[in-house]
Every structure is written in structure tokens, then in C-alpha cells.
């Protein structure tokens, strides 16, 4: 059985003003991490072109500080774009394990969420069987507005975290 994780004691909470300092630090940390989500270059399936349009000129995800990166070591977020086969799902899991904490997963499209139009396929899987997913974005493919909305939901989620990397 898993032990219940306890909040570590904060020793200086009785000191006057400590709460204000804590909340300021939390605010700055949340702000910095919110505006600096680096997803990895990984297109698993067919929502790729729409993802390209979203990071392209008309919708421009870099406005939100979302900057796709090449190597998984520097990234914060996997955007699972499109259908995931069994062969790919293992790779997604590897990548998730190679990524530094704190890390997030966004499932873009109907296929990684729940197989979508390939519901009766023998090879497609839903990605949440392999890695924990933070945000699901529906659609086949989702419109760029939907993808940006999903990223903003992830930003809110990151900002509201009590401590770095500890999800609610």
C-alpha cells in the first residue's frame, strides 16, 4: 500500500511576515513556471498539421511562452498529438520517465484521449493507460483555439499548485 504523503512542516510559519514571504515566493514561482512551458517535439499522430498551425503564424503559441524544444531533458510537457499506437505508447512512457520534474502531459485530440475514430483498432491505445494526463483536448483534430485553451488550462493548473510539481 502507498503511504499517504504528508505536507512537510514549514518551520518558520509562526514568524510574523513569513506567510507574506511564502505567498510572494509561491506567486513568483507559479508565474515563472506558468509562462515557460516547453513542450517536446513529439508528434505521435495525425493532429500534427493542426498543431503546426497552432504554433505557426496565425495562432502563435509562443505568445503564451510555449516554445517547442528538441531534447526531452529540457522540457516540461509532452503534448501527445494524435493517435498513439502500442509501439509509440512505450516510447511516450520512456520520454515521460526521461523528463525532469515537474512534468505534465497534454493529450491533444480524440485519439490519445480515448482512441477516437479508431475505437475498434487493434493497435491504437488511449495514452492515459501509460502516462498520467493533465489536460485532455477533444476534437478530431481540435481547432487551434481549442489547443490554446488547453494550454491555458494547463497554465492555470501549474499556477495553482501548492508546491512545485505537486499536483492537486
Amino acid at each position: 500500500m502507498l503511504e499517504e504523503t504528508k505536507e512537510p512542516k514549514r518551520n518558520f510559519e509562526s514568524v510574523p511576515g513569513a506567510k507574506a514571504v511564502y505567498s510572494l515566493v509561491d506567486y513568483v514561482a507559479g508565474w515563472a513556471r506558468k509562462y515557460s512551458i516547453w513542450p517536446i517535439h513529439l508528434v505521435t499522430g495525425c493532429c500534427g498539421p493542426e498543431f503546426m498551425q497552432t504554433s505557426g503564424s496565425e495562432y502563435d503559441m509562443e505568445r503564451l511562452g510555449v516554445l517547442p524544444f528538441a531534447s526531452v531533458r529540457q522540457c516540461d510537457c509532452i503534448m501527445v498529438v494524435g493517435v498513439v499506437s502500442r509501439k509509440m505508447a512505450i516510447r511516450v512512457k520512456y520520454l515521460y520517465e526521461q523528463m525532469g520534474e515537474p512534468k505534465y502531459v497534454v493529450a491533444v485530440g480524440a485519439c490519445p484521449t480515448g482512441k477516437g475514430p479508431f475505437y475498434d483498432s487493434y493497435a491504437a491505445v488511449a495514452i492515459d493507460e501509460y502516462v498520467p494526463v493533465d489536460v485532455y483536448i477533444p476534437g478530431c483534430p481540435p481547432r487551434p483555439e481549442a489547443i490554446i485553451n488547453g494550454m491555458m488550462l494547463l497554465q492555470e493548473k501549474i499556477r495553482k499548485e501548492k508546491r512545485i510539481g505537486v499536483k492537486e
Binding site: R86, K87, I90, Y122, A123
Partner: protein
Amino acid sequence: MSEESLLAGIKEAHSDSIESAAVLQPRCISVVAKMDGFVELAESMKTRFGFTQPVACGGVDYPGEQRIQMIYYAGNPEHKVMLTLRVNLPRDGPRMPTLTGVWGAMDFHEREAYEMFGIEFEGHPNMIPFLLPPDWRGGHPLRKDFKGEGVTQ
């Protein structure tokens, strides 16, 4: 009609190694071959009748008739005619000689047919898993009796 004349030529030259031959539709001919001398027939198709451009190959499963039909697709760049060269294999343990010696590009497609139908190609140079995961244990997906999902470890 170039496909008619091509077909007539093929029939005349290989009457003993062909079961039947027909024009499927305009610019597409169908030749059903016997298992004996299949490689020689394919070689002759390539060198003599100009089907130099390999396209693909794949199978069709007929569980009722207990056979799998293996189909090779090749194109004739001169007459713009597509050849479907077929051969019938038994459904239990289908084996046939590889055609990678004739059309090298059939490499990928034969590997796929091996996974999807379980057809063994004798003499194939590089028979490694192609589309399915290397630890696939679920059977051959394109056979008609394949049900459900494959099991992977």
C-alpha cells in the same frame, strides 16, 4: 488496347504456369499463377513484359475456401498498365518463395504480409518485424478469424 495485347502475349508465353488471366478494368490486368515456376513467371513479367516498377504486395484471406491469395502489384511505366499477379496459398502454414530477387522493393511489403497473414517467404533477406510491435503475440490481424486485440508484454 495495350492491356489486351499484353495479356495475349502473357497468355501465349506462359500458358503452362498460368491458371487464368483477365483484364480487371481498364489499365489493370489480373494474372493468377500456379505455384510452380512462380518466380520465373515474375522474372519474365519484369524483363519481357516491362513490369519494371514494383508497387506493393498483400494478401486476401478466404477462410471459406481455405486459401490465402497473395497479390503482387507491379506497374508498366511504358504502357501505364498495372499488373496484379496472384498466387493461391493454403491457409494452414502458407509458404512461398520470395520475390525480393525480382522486385527488390517488395522487401517491406513481404515483411508486412508475413505479419498480417502469416505467409512465410523463403529466402527473404531481412525478415524482421515491420509494422507491429516486436513483442506482438496477438496473431495475424488481417486474417478473417482475428478477433480483438493483440497481447503485448
